[in-house]
């Protein structure tokens, strides 16, 4: 009825033709945009930034750069080199001991694990975003648009990110290709920079993306009078929240004389109980609550509420000012997550260092994944202000020059260090990390030239190392590996995926199995030399094995896998993709005999 009345009123002023089109549009239940604007369809021009990928840095196989341009695979489905693949999937990595525990107060609407930022040629007002997923779709959880034009010469000012669509991670029943085109929100600025955030935790295998299409109009669409904007309930949680506003000083009532303690039942509750209640609030809610009354302000600013702080869900809005406001609450901070924040000028050395000076002494864990604002000076501040730091994550900080990592050597208590996709060099690693005898957790490197040297240093100095990630370490040979396993006997997790120089004929894998009885995770992805004797040795020497990846070898038979599955009752993940001797019949037989094991067999077509 309401729509009808609006329509009648409109037709008096508008033309008859317009009114007819509008009514038809209303009747068909769509949003009416009138009059007709030319819709521009674009593929991504360039991939600007991303958090991880499966492929090598110089390669075009399974790397994020494949998401730009026209699709290469769609509408075919399968595991192809020409697609964009993220580094991880499912929950396997979270099950490892090296995975950090999740941060408290993570808002329920924030599911993102990885992201990719794409630039398009022309800024448009988006009307649709289509993502062509060609393998195990369902991972996209958020699509955002940015007001900044990445191709403009001027530095970014007033960068705004608007959520176009947000959803839950899903899993599609079949791994077939699909075109994902959710209903997106209409925004008030033209954009040519999109960000996709993904969560693959429900998927059975790596998701693969082929292309992204941005449809939009050049002219700002005139929104019809009677259009009801769809309000997504998830938007309300954080969308209008300006983190820099909150934490503003609580204004004293002008009548300080009338000391009313009219807080109702809250006055009767013990302090710890209110603290417990508040510990369930998300950070923006906590900051808003601080402005409600003096009692709750005191509670909300209590540093005990801020022993763990994850600012990653608010990456789009975090600025130096926000950090400044949180500074006073941070002296007991132990775990800080600044991953993904600060890019495009939002955080600077000043804001970062003053915050760290406030919370540094107690800081134990610092997550700085994909923080492109970091410079050598920032790492120097970290080393100076956080003497007790035990965990440091610098993954994908690929703009840091190799010199910056020398400051890590001053962190004497470091147990967990993630350097995935950074430019660290051999010399720096040796001086910066290996000095620490307590170094017993997690090391993830990528770009070093001579891994044998690193391996022997680790064997000599880090004898209690329990998790080591040497994914795509191209130069590691059997000598380095032998030294490593002789020295680091406590290793539980070892990722040697895509290390082509390891030859099984040298006996290195059998030596590995015999020396690492505690082994729980072993990735030998794309090592084409893995053979039955290695599997049998693993079966007899590593009873705690839980995750094993032997993708791409022609030399392993079903019989040895059966022995392995029988001897390792805790095995839950076995990836036998592209193993020529393990065909679907063998997979089905083994799945039937061992139903608790997730047997992964990927395919191209």
């Amino acid at each position: 009825m309401f729509y009808y009345i609006c329509l009648r009123r409109r037709s008096r002023s508008g033309t008859r033709g317009e009114a007819l089109t509008s009514r038809r549009a209303v009747e068909s239940g769509q949003r009416a945009v009138l009059p007709v604007s030319v819709e521009v369809e674009q593929y991504a021009k360039e991939v600007l930034d991303f958090s991880s990928h499966y492929g090598s840095e110089n390669s075009m196989s399974y790397t994020m750069w494949n998401l730009a341009g026209v699709p290469n695979v769609y509408p075919s489905s399968g595991d192809f080199t020409q697609t964009a693949v993220f580094r991880a999937y499912g929950t396997w990595w979270e099950q490892c001991a090296s995975a950090p525990p999740p941060f408290r107060r993570t808002p329920k609407g924030f599911h993102s694990q990885d992201y990719i930022e794409l630039a398009f040629e022309e800024p448009v007002y988006p009307t649709a975003v289509e993502v062509l997923e060609t393998y195990y779709p369902g991972a996209i959880v958020q699509i955002l648009a940015c007001s900044h034009n990445p191709f403009s010469q001027s530095p970014p000012t007033d960068v705004r990110w608007e959520v176009l669509w947000s959803g839950e991670p899903t899993k599609v029943l079949t791994p077939q290709a699909r075109q994902f085109s959710p209903n997106i929100k209409h925004i008030s600025f033209p954009t040519n920079l999109l960000r996709l955030e993904v969560n693959s935790s429900l998927l059975d295998y790596y998701t693969e993306l082929d292309a992204v299409i941005l449809r939009g109009v050049k002219e700002r669409p005139m929104l019809a009078l009677y259009k009801m904007p769809v309000i997504d309930i998830n938007d309300l949680s954080d969308s209008e929240e300006e983190l820099s506003d909150v934490g503003g000083p609580f204004r004293q009532g002008s009548d300080g004389k009338h000391q009313r303690t009219g807080n109702g039942y809250f006055d009767k509750l013990p302090y710890e109980l209110i603290q417990l209640i508040l510990s369930h609030l998300t950070l923006p809610d906590l900051c808003r609550l601080a402005q409600s009354c003096k009692l709750l302000h005191q509670h909300c600013c209590d540093p005990l509420q801020y022993t763990q702080l994850s600012l990653q869900p608010y990456w789009a809005r975090l600025s130096d000012a926000s950090l400044g406001h949180l500074q006073s609450r941070a002296p007991l901070l132990q775990r800080l997550n600044l991953s993904w924040t600060g890019n495009r000028g939002a955080l600077t050395l000043t804001g970062f260092s003053s915050f760290l000076k406030a919370c540094g002494p107690s800081l134990v864990c610092l997550e700085l994944s994909c923080c492109h604002f970091l410079t050598e000076a920032c790492l120097e501040v970290v080393s100076q202000t956080c003497p007790g730091l035990q965990e440091l994550n610098l993954s994908s900080c690929d703009r840091l020059n190799p010199q910056a990592f020398t400051h890590i050597s001053k962190l004497a208590r470091l147990r967990r260090l993630v350097l995935y996709r950074t430019k660290i060099e051999v010399g720096t690693v040796n001086t910066s990390c290996i000095e620490h005898r307590n170094f017993n957790c997690y090391l993830s490197l990528l770009k070093i030239e001579d891994y044998d040297v690193v391996a022997s240093m680790l064997a000599a100095r880090c004898r209690s190392l329990c998790s080591l990630d040497l994914w795509r370490c191209r130069n590691l040979t059997d000598r380095g590996l032998a030294e490593l396993v002789s020295g680091c006997k406590m290793l539980e997790e070892l990722d040697l995926g895509w290390c082509p120089t390891l030859q099984s004929s040298t006996g290195c894998f059998q030596h590995l199995a015999r020396n690492l009885p505690r082994l729980r995770k072993l990735f030998l992805t794309a090592n084409r030399t893995v053979r039955d004797s290695d599997i049998e040795e693993l079966a007899s020497s590593c009873p705690s094995l839980q995750h094993l990846d032997i993708l791409g070898t022609r030399l392993v038979s079903g019989a040895s896998l059966k022995k392995l599955l029988q001897s390792c009752p805790k095995l839950v993940l076995l990836d036998v993709s592209f193993c020529s001797q393990i065909d679907m019949r063998v997979v089905q037989e083994l799945s039937g005999l061992f139903p608790n094991v997730a047997l992964k067999k990927s395919f191209t077509q």
């Binding site: 110089n58 390669s59 075009m60 399974y62 080199t81 084409r528 030399t529 791409g552 993709s577 592209f578």
Partner: protein, 297 residues
């Protein structure tokens, strides 16, 4: 006596073309491919143009036109490996490298090196080997950059004569240089040459130059004079006539290959080395025929 219009056009062209070149136009290659698989298996036309165990590609980029041929080494069949998989994947990968601009026109060896490296990044465990020949025309500079590993090759024909040709690279008789991925353990036994060992050359080309890139199935069965005879029949620079000429060359080579009495270049070479043989050499034949023309979008 030039008309005002043509005079104006010349002036505009000279101004726009700049002082660096006398001819400011971009060049391009108009190319067509044709071939026969050995034993008449040509019916199976996989993606990326395959003829038997041979494969080829034709790719365009803003800065260059690039062609390539690869001859899969048939001996792998005896070990249960499909020889066409390696050559086809190599050519498709090189094509993709060119289309995405991950190459320099003046460095075709780089295309081969990157292409080979990408083969090793594939989850699928590829095995096999092939020769490779890559020809790249730099549009702006009018230079043709080539590289050749093995016994495939190219000819450049100008005015009815061969002005450039590639050299065969052989280790010994019927064993050309080849890129390969060997099964584990067999690395010492299987011939594996590095992409850096390819011969490369660069030279200027002119409008109307004909470039013939082919695998040894052509050169071993058809001597130069016969190829030149066929190329003389090529009068126009449109795609259809180029295709027709390529087809006639390939067909002729195919017929000669199965002629037991014909003294083919292959047989001649064998006789020179003490083997008393006669006749053609049945083999996969791939012919890529191109003409240098002006670039039109």
């Amino acid at each position: 006596m030039l008309s005002v219009l043509s005079y104006g056009r010349l002036v505009a062209r000279a101004v726009l073309g700049g002082l660096s070149q006398t001819d400011g136009r971009d060049y391009s290659l108009i190319s067509a491919s044709y071939g026969f698989g050995k034993d008449f298996r040509k019916g199976i036309l996989k993606k990326g143009m395959c003829y038997g165990d041979d494969a080829c590609f034709i790719a365009r980029h803003r800065t260059a036109d690039v062609l390539g041929v690869a001859d899969g080494v048939g001996g792998w069949r005896d070990y249960g490996v499909d020889p066409s998989q390696f050559s086809a994947t190599l050519m498709r990968t090189c094509e993709r490298l060119v289309k995405e601009g991950r190459f320099t026109p003046s460095n075709p060896v780089g295309i081969l090196t990157s292409g080979y490296y990408e083969l090793l990044q594939n989850k699928v465990p590829l095995l096999g080997s092939s020769t490779a020949c890559i020809v790249a025309l730099d549009r702006r500079s009018h230079r043709l950059h080539t590289c050749n590993l093995g016994d495939s090759g190219f000819l450049v024909v100008r005015g009815g004569e061969v002005v450039h040709r590639s050299d065969e690279q052989q280790h010994y008789f019927n064993t050309p240089f080849q890129l390969s991925i060997a099964p584990p353990g067999a690395e010492g036994v299987v011939l594996s040459d590095s992409p850096e060992e390819a011969d490369s050359s660069s030279f200027d080309v002119q409008l109307g130059d004909i470039i013939l890139t082919a695998t040894d199935g052509l050169f071993d069965n058809m001597p130069d004079y016969m190829i030149l005879q066929e190329l003389k029949k090529l009068k126009t620079t449109n795609y259809d006539s180029i295709l027709q000429t390529a087809q006639s060359i390939a067909k002729q080579a195919h017929d000669l290959a199965y002629d037991p009495n014909y003294m083919s270049p292959f047989a001649q070479f064998a006789c020179d080395n003490g083997l008393n043989v006669r006749g053609g050499k049945p083999d996969d034949i791939t012919v890529l025929l191109s003409i240098v023309a002006e670039y039109t979008d």
